[in-house]
Symmetry: C2
Subunit: 364 residues, 2 copies
Amino acid sequence: MSSQPLTSAPTALDLTLDGGALTAQLVDFPSVSGDEKALADAVENALRTLPHLTVDRYGNNVVARTQLGRAERVLLAGHLDTVPIADNLPSRVEGDLLWGCGTTDMKSGVAVQLRLAATLPDPNRDLTFVFYDCEEIEAARNGLGHLAAQHPDWLAADFAVLLEPSDAVVEGGCQGTLRAKVTLTGTRAHSARSWLGDNAIHQAAAVLGRLADYQPRRVEIDGLEYREGLNAVRIEGGVAGNVIPDECVVTVNFRYAPDRSEAEAAAHVREVFQGYQVEVTDSAPGALPGLAQPAAQAFLAATGGSARAKYGWTDVARFSTLGVPAVNYGPGDPNLAHKRDEHCSLSAIAECERRLREWLTAAR
Amino acid sequence: MSSQPLTSAPTALDLTLDGGALTAQLVDFPSVSGDEKALADAVENALRTLPHLTVDRYGNNVVARTQLGRAERVLLAGHLDTVPIADNLPSRVEGDLLWGCGTTDMKSGVAVQLRLAATLPDPNRDLTFVFYDCEEIEAARNGLGHLAAQHPDWLAADFAVLLEPSDAVVEGGCQGTLRAKVTLTGTRAHSARSWLGDNAIHQAAAVLGRLADYQPRRVEIDGLEYREGLNAVRIEGGVAGNVIPDECVVTVNFRYAPDRSEAEAAAHVREVFQGYQVEVTDSAPGALPGLAQPAAQAFLAATGGSARAKYGWTDVARFSTLGVPAVNYGPGDPNLAHKRDEHCSLSAIAECERRLREWLTAAR
């Protein structure tokens, strides 16, 4: 990480700027994970000037809500933190492109949130804007997780949009992930008298064979296709160069479609490795896309109608555990996230804002 | 390692003592690998008093020879070093048992060498006595290896006996050992999109399958049965818990009968893993038992006629590469070697000396 002094670092946000200019202002507020306080203060202060919103804060997490008594409530969420700066601040504009740390992941999305918060005093649905910290680091510090644990009522909604970069395509739900250790045990012996031992690494042949032969399921949910995968991600065995090893451990990662629960996923893995010692070491549930919900249908229509399944695990799963269907939808190419040459199209920011505004203002 | 002060540590050896008492004297001369100089000095000084022997020294290795012009020459070898002392010095006698570090491995064998050197001025075969250092540590420091490289003429003989503990059973030859790495390569991908990658650990299924199915050869040489073995001794693969791994390395150890050369052993391993990337990383040849030699036949008869194959790699292989058939034969239970409660039967020391003396003095 190399941060450079920002002589012109802003101290306040101007929500009257357009989305691109506001993104630049956000980018020039360094906010590497764990160091979001100044930006959270600025976001809170800016939102508190808006009379149509009630604002709450917990740690460096800020939640702003309309209270209009609408039939539906939509939640728009974004994280304030970035990965470490890599000599890519302050931001700079070249033609339609804005360059700098966080332009894609995800201060352009946060700018769209703030623009909508500032300019939609009378939306067709009640709105909740969530700005949270520590998304880029270990899950235990994730601000959205802290809000879900401490103030789940702040996150109540019928549908949520996480404005992570998705190249302006709706990414629905997310797959679950489970890790397990399959342990083979044998008997040690000197390798010069190998028949006195039982080689645990050789036993792993059958386990790896089941993995190699495994036919992953493809399943369609709400029109999105999810492709599962069951893979060895680590294998370890061996005592010394002259010893028949008595243990070999295969670590597998099961990425599963969100129509399976965590318990069902674990049962499936145990079934695949029936006859072997299986220990689940790590598990996170998937999230159903929820695209059959009326709010989601209207959202899909407003954003062009196309959606794809999300394979990687994302914070939409946190909403799912709260019973809130959620999708990823935001400006920016996700492949540029975390890169030194991170950049975002200014027109894409404007387009994302326009579509969301259309969805949230259309006659119902 | 815990060594204790020896107030009565000897400075000279008395070769008129019986084998058991001489073993005790040798045991009370601490000589952990790398620290053999005092004992090598004492051995050299004691041997130089014997007019029927010519004595040579290289480092802490001492070689004494008769020069009687006999038709055959027999070499008797033993190492002077021990593993680290483990609160088991000085030696002590309980009934027929002598306790202490090195009693079995192999100061009892060295005592038998010294007794024969001192008391056989007119043997039926010319004799070469070799005392060497650093047998218990890395091969590059082994004194017998240094002698073979620097003074191979000192080791010239028709037959060699290594007086390592063998429970008074002749152990013939030794198996060769070869290590090789079988490397599987694939393509990395995020485990949430595993179909974009090629899992190298899964590829190892076939390699481990060949190992599990491998039928090791059993072969009889000079009446001794050798059992080969081909085993995985290590497996490693994995990048991170969410990455399809692009490499997996299986390390195999092939223990092979001494009718195969190193090159033939390597070719066999390559054949077993045909189609895979195989790199031989380590290799040491085996040693034929040579029990068909006349000197060996007479030796076998003198020691009771029974012999078994040696599976572990030992220094007899060094003699084999010099063209000298060699066997292990010495007092003491090899299973007690390197143990805190190491001990040796005094009567077994006397019996070993008696049999070797009979062989080396019988009318021819």
